[in-house]
């Protein structure tokens, strides 16, 4: 994801009525999305000459990359392992044209009110958008279109179908007073979010003639979409960063939003201050040309494990640089220190001790003497009863009560010992144990009046099962 987080603005070109700047290299984006798969991070950089024109025909050998965990001094130069020019890429660019549709956009270019409908700022913005769409021609580039005033309205998502876009640009008309506010930062948030599903290099081109003028703040009423939320510049910046979108902004007229420049430059974009129609003409196309002139430089970062890594590109010869950052953390977090690593070795004997304990556990032990054991006990009561010489009586529990096992003569619960449902277990003269009952006894799911018991035989006693253990096996 292209992340454009930190920036050294002094090095960046700021445009007033066109590209003005020094011979320079500007990093406009970082893409670390596939680092785990490819091992490389892609950097996007534009090189401009002293007149601000993109410098072409450079090669990978002309660039060097330095990086370091954020906050640390940059390391040694690293080679560029992948290299291409944006204009040569097949995936195309993705533009979202975001046009201010607030009330002031229906003034004339000079700010005077009531111009002819085709001379409003809104009309100029649409005209430039149409021209841009015409110039996109049959390229693979996708363009989308959105308007904003009080609310954000997407007219068309990014697509290659130019005719639909031009049709949806339509004819502009002044908004009602409730729709005439300028939710500038909220609109940038919306535009960035609307591009989240788009692949490739993504750019928002914003056209606005004023400052952020939020609805809730100026009316005291709840916004129809954002309720009490008052968007601030950092909301817009965060959304652009999150989506890896670069913002190019056109500030038309003299009433300019000061934070817009910071937002645009922090994303690797540029702000254009435009006063008239002539300056506007062809501006969108020049933005595209600038993006198409970007070099994509892939380098292979070392696994520092830092949450974020700062990166800088240099042109050989020591030109000025810009530093950006990208996320570089591991799933398991930050690297260990030596102490931590050694400390963790204590976990090995701990693990071995657990295994040793498990190996020594004996969950159940066969009885040394003949016994009866309740397999699925209901309620409380004794679980295992050693069989004595005389009779042992099993009194099945009823209605959820536990089955009781006791020697004859001892009370076996509620005087049921002598009832026909009780089961008597006793040793015969032949030395074998037998189970019997007046109603018949069920042993191993077979009913009989009396059964000779073998080791492991299962006696049914009401809801419970009783297992016979001969104490010998």
């Amino acid at each position: 994801m292209k992340r454009l987080i930190s920036f050294i603005p002094v090095l960046f070109m700021l445009f007033t009525g066109g590209f003005l700047g020094a011979d320079d290299i500007a990093l406009s984006g970082v893409d670390s999305r596939l680092m785990a798969v490819t091992g490389t991070v892609n950097l996007y950089a534009v090189v401009t000459d002293s007149s601000g024109q993109p410098v072409k025909n450079l090669t990978a050998e002309d660039f060097m990359v330095r990086d370091a965990p954020m906050g640390e001094a940059l390391g040694d130069p690293q080679p560029v392992v992948n290299f291409s020019v944006a204009g040569e890429r097949r995936d195309g660019l993705v533009f979202m044209m975001l046009i201010d549709d607030s009330g002031s956009m229906y003034d004339g270019p000079d700010g005077r009110s009531s111009p002819s409908p085709d001379r409003t700022r809104a009309a100029l913005a649409r005209r430039e958008a149409r021209r841009f769409l015409d110039e996109l021609g049959t390229s693979m580039d996708r363009a989308g279109l959105a308007l904003f005033g009080t609310r954000y309205r997407i007219l068309a998502g990014p697509r290659t179908d130019r005719a639909t876009l031009i049709e949806r640009l339509g004819v502009s008309s002044p908004p009602e007073s409730e729709e005439a506010y300028t939710e500038l930062y909220a609109a940038i948030v919306e535009a960035a979010s609307s591009m989240s599903s788009q692949k490739g290099r993504r750019i928002v081109i914003l056209f606005s003639d004023g400052e952020n003028y939020p609805y809730t703040e100026h009316t005291g009423r709840s916004h129809p979409d954002y309720r009490e939320k008052n968007h601030i510049p950092d909301d817009a910046l965060k959304a652009l960063h999150e989506e890896g979108v670069t913002l190019y902004a056109v500030r038309f007229g003299s009433n300019r939003d000061d934070d817009l420049a910071r937002i645009a430059m922090s994303t690797g974009g540029v702000v254009f201050d435009v006063d008239g129609e002539e300056e506007l003409s062809g501006l969108y196309s020049s933005i595209r040309k600038r993006v198409l002139a970007e070099y994509r430089l892939g380098y292979r970062p070392g696994p520092t494990g830092a949450e974020e890594t700062s990166v800088m590109v240099e042109l050989k010869g020591g030109q000025s640089t810009i530093e950006l950052t990208y996320p570089s953390g591991f799933v398991f977090g930050l690297p260990s220190s030596r102490t931590q690593a050694l400390l963790s070795l204590l976990a090995i004997p701990f693990a071995l001790a657990l295994i040793f304990i498990l190996a020594r556990i004996r969950i159940a032990k066969s009885a040394d003497a003949p016994s009866l054991e309740r397999l699925r006990p209901v309620g409380g009561g004794q679980l295992t009863v050693v069989l004595e010489t005389g009779k042992t009586v099993i009194s099945p529990g009823v209605a959820g009560e536990p089955t009781l096992i006791s020697s004859e003569g001892k009370k076996a619960g509620d005087g049921k010992a002598g009832s026909s449902s009780t089961i008597v277990v006793e040793k015969g003269k032949d030395g074998r144990w037998r189970a019997s009952s007046g109603e018949g006894v069920v042993v191993n799911n077979r009913k009989s009046d009396a059964t000779v018991l073998e080791n492991g035989d299962v006696i049914r006693a009401g809801e419970e099962l009783i297992v016979f253990d001969d104490g010998e096996s």
Binding site: Q340, I361, V458
Partner: protein
């Protein structure tokens, strides 16, 4: 052995596996700068976590049955599958982290790590089923591993945020290993059609979920249920001693017990041939008594 006591094995082997995996992870992260690139490091981290948890957690089955051979085979198969799926799971997790961290604010980036834990947990949990070549067990294990990975990963991130990195990672790895092994085991048990509980012999009290298409009962240490103890006068034959005494098959919603040739198997006191098992059937096979408890 009731289920809670049976679960003790998966809980403690998971804890042991998580502890071992934590040590391995810390050593690798200590040496992280020595790795040539992120890919190699990622694969190494995943392979190590998978190897150690994969080797230790499957020991539960062998330990439950007191079968050294089963413990060793668990270690070998668990290690191999753990290495493979751990590396793949980690690579996928790291990829998701890269994708999500790029679209998440820094404050939310911690949660972007959780899918990595989940994928690794799913991979290791599923690997336990792979050993038995049973799709049911793979799915059950993977499901348990998924939930365990989610719990462990969330705990690790939460604890890392509350404490310094090493304590968060340590507690997270312990919880992750425990949760993955325990929940994979529980899921395998929940998805079982029933269970066989041993009523006699050294394994008395131990339960075995019938959760795979073909479940082998034999004296061999490699069987799904190893028969231990003196067979006595029961029909111990060469077949029973060397091969499967009986097979339990899952067939179209039924559980069928199929004795091997020349092996005497009784169900409810009668000599059995291929028989559909019903609730509380008492099975005597090669001198060992089992009870089948179908899942209700």
């Amino acid at each position: 052995m009731n289920e809670s006591r049976s679960s003790l094995y998966s809980l403690l082997t998971g804890l042991a596996g998580g502890a071992a995996a934590w040590a391995g992870i810390e050593i690798i992260l200590w040496q992280a700068p020595a790795f040539p690139d992120v890919r190699v490091l990622t694969l190494s981290l995943g392979a190590t976590a998978g190897l150690l948890l994969g080797a230790v957690a499957p020991m539960a089955e062998g330990l439950r049955q007191n079968q050294p051979r089963k413990i060793i085979s668990g270690i070998i198969v668990g290690s191999l599958t753990g290495v493979l799926f751990g590396a793949l799971g980690m690579a996928a997790g790291q990829l998701i982290l890269s994708l999500m961290a790029g679209t998440a604010a820094i404050s939310e980036a911690a949660f972007a790590r959780i899918p990595g834990w989940i994928i690794l947990g799913t991979a290791v949990g599923g690997a336990s089923g792979l050993r038995s070549r049973s799709l049911r067990r793979i799915v059950a294990g993977a499901t348990g591993g998924f939930i365990g990975g989610l719990i462990g990963g969330a705990a690790a991130e939460l604890l890392t945020g509350m404490t310094s990195g090493i304590y968060g990672r340590a507690s997270g790895m312990l919880l992750w290993g425990t949760a993955v092994a325990f929940l994979a085991d529980r899921m395998e048990s929940r998805r079982a059609r029933g269970r066989l509980t041993v009523l006699t012999g050294p394994l008395k009290g131990r339960s075995f979920p019938v959760n795979q298409k073909n479940f082998t009962i034999a004296r061999s240490g490699s069987a799904d249920l190893t028969l231990l103890g003196d067979p006595g006068a029961a029909a111990t034959t060469e077949a029973a001693a060397t091969g499967a005494a009986a097979q339990v098959h899952l067939k179209k919603g039924t559980v069928v017990l199929e004795p091997s040739e020349n092996v005497k198997v009784e169900i409810n006191g009668e000599k059995a041939e291929a028989t559909e098992l019903r609730y509380d059937d008492v099975i005597k096979v090669d001198g060992v008594t089992l009870i089948y408890e179908a899942k209700r």
